[in-house]
Assembly symmetry: C2
Homo-oligomer: 339 residues x 2
DNA sequence: GTCGGCAATGTCAACGATGGACATTGCGCG
DNA sequence: CGCGCAATGTCCATCGTTGACATTGCCGAC
């Protein structure tokens, strides 16, 4: 098995009887080359299976790799994959590629992974911030690599971001539950110390306060320890005295855990509303707050592309809509009228 | 805003008061350099935010980029994300990175995307074959880029592959349904013209034949046209005369579609068994054939790493186990005894 | 006929890191 | 005192491609 050598510009040039530069021209600005020459070069290139070496190109062109990095945390949530998909599509349309890295959800991991990506000379960095400080990216940003935060703003770093209408939609959702007669409304999430959750919680609290309920400590289960199983949190909440008659689940995992626990307890009356949609939500009649994760990725990618190369204007924050989808579980009235 | 220049080896060398060569030594074979010098160099590098230029390194070192490409089709199936996750973890552990690309599930896209990845000079290519011919990769393979097929063997290309025990497990599953008294057992999938499905179908047919049922045309709905909605297929099957008393769904999407349709029809008696597990399968009591997608990715990545650089031995096919998880829906006996 | 001008193509260096082949220090030790 | 070795430096080539600039040759205008 002869391991052939990969063909280079020179090889193609030699075969076509021209100079390397001309071959290079053919592959870039074709208009400067004679039609017959173009043809001859392309034929040679094809015969040799020539492929321009992106490394050399990138080096010569001053570090542009046409590659964008994306750092995401938890692999558990399908939401992130859809975001990645959106990013990938938008980038592909512009001739860029996506490198994905994951952080194992440790803040240490985040910096480490970012470092690995950056030494790849990516043209932009998209990140779902997991740690509580992204200042370690400041240097790189000053060197001209755009950083775009997704789902949450970056902390201690001037980066563009794309986020959701967390507060508003949860506010509205809580209001609807109140209108149904619910008073003991629970909010449950883990981790609770990320921006998206604090926003949602703020919406929840504001609506409760409007209804005169200022103390929600009995029903808000805000856990930060990621090792605590969601099922445990929910079971504790549902089994307590004065259990809530309605629950808002802060994300996908919480919602599914809630379904699991309610089923175990034979609980068919507690109203349930989850943030994030999921595949079988319609089959299970689960009302959710939803949004378009693909669009989230797309917009983030678009922001990155816009930043690339251009002078740096002020930091932008893009807010995408989220909305309520009623499927039954969130429209149940309390069994006993709210006291 | 001063856009600083990125630091190079020379910059670091100048600041540390040593030669570029020494800096290079520090970053590669540290043992040849004095401890204090190492320290001084590292300090300078840190101050200048120096990062060895991977492009230049890769170029110099002959195209090694420490990057592996992964091409996957349909974004709809969460299965692929888990596979990607497995790949990413295994690669990360070995200091490699993952570039992900998607094909929009068109066979044309597959070649185009592969081309884009390959010009990136990836060290290996992992692919879930979507088209019916991967011979276009033959040239690249001969140039030394390992190609590993995931979930399905590559067609017209000598590539390693990692696949599942499709045939055996579906065979066993069908046998169990038969043992419960089912005779009219349906198998439904789309697309049906991919290897993994033909294997599963073969297992199904073999078990049926063992029970003396050689004609399964009335219950096997094998659709190839990807634009046909799964719900339509299933509804047609369930509403026909002599509808099956049990259904095996060929993948995730089919299973969920079946649940949706059965719900609409108020059908609570038809036995259902799905290939691929999903998040809420336990809540919905859905019996499935499952496997470990992360392990699938891991093993594929490991195969790729093993091939990289090494001389090419014979093509390997790795078969990973799949197994049945009983949750209720697949253990229902037929309403009327099989006639 | 000659020269300006332009289209087509070639030459050469440089991008940043690394490796080979040495040369040069300086220190410890026999 | 000089040998040997560790630590470092010099210099140049190299990876594949492209930018800056040079060259060639032909056409048309004067």
């Amino acid at each position: 098995m002869t391991v052939q050598q990969r063909a280079t510009l020179d090889d193609v040039a030699r075969l076509a009887g021209v100079s390397a530069k001309t071959v290079s021209r053919v592959f870039n600005q074709r208009e400067l080359v004679g039609a017959d020459t173009v043809e001859r070069v392309l034929a040679s290139a094809k015969r040799l299976r020539f492929r321009p070496n992106t490394l050399a190109q990138g080096l010569r062109r001053g570090g542009k790799t046409n590659t964008v990095g994306f750092i995401m945390g938890e692999f558990g949530n399908p939401f992130y994959y859809k975001v990645a998909s959106g990013i990938e599509r938008e980038l592909a349309a512009q001739g860029h590629r996506l490198v994905v890295a994951t952080t194992d959800d440790t803040s240490d991991g985040e910096a480490r992974v970012a470092d690995a990506l950056l030494s790849q000379r990516i043209d932009a960095l998209l990140i779902i911030p997991a740690s509580h400080d992204q200042s370690y990216l400041e240097g790189e940003r000053q060197l001209g690599t755009p950083v775009i935060a997704i789902d949450r703003p970056a902390l201690n770093l001037a980066a563009d971001s794309v986020v959701l209408e967390n507060r508003e939609t949860v506010h509205e959702a809580t209001r609807r539950l109140l209108a149904l007669g619910h008073r003991r409304i629970g909010y449950i999430c883990n981790p609770a110390d990320v921006w998206s959750q604090t926003e949602r919680i703020a919406g929840y609290r504001a609506a409760m306060a409007e209804a005169g309920i200022t103390d929600t400590t009995a029903w808000a289960r805000l856990e930060d320890d990621r090792s605590v199983r969601p099922e445990r949190l929910i079971r504790a909440l549902l089994e307590q005295r004065d259990a809530p008659t309605a629950i808002i689940a802060g994300n996908n995992r919480m919602t599914i855990a809630a379904l699991r626990v309610m089923r175990e307890l034979g609980d068919g009356h507690t109203a349930l509303l989850g943030f994030d949609d999921f595949d079988t939500a319609d089959v299970l009649d689960v009302s959710v707050i939803t949004y378009d994760p693909i669009e989230l990725g797309r917009r983030a990618a678009r922001l990155a592309l816009a930043r690339m190369g251009k002078a740096n204007g002020p930091t932008k924050q893009l807010v995408l809509p989220s909305w309520i989808v009623e499927r039954g579980s969130g429209e149940r009235a309390p069994a006993e009228p709210g006291r």
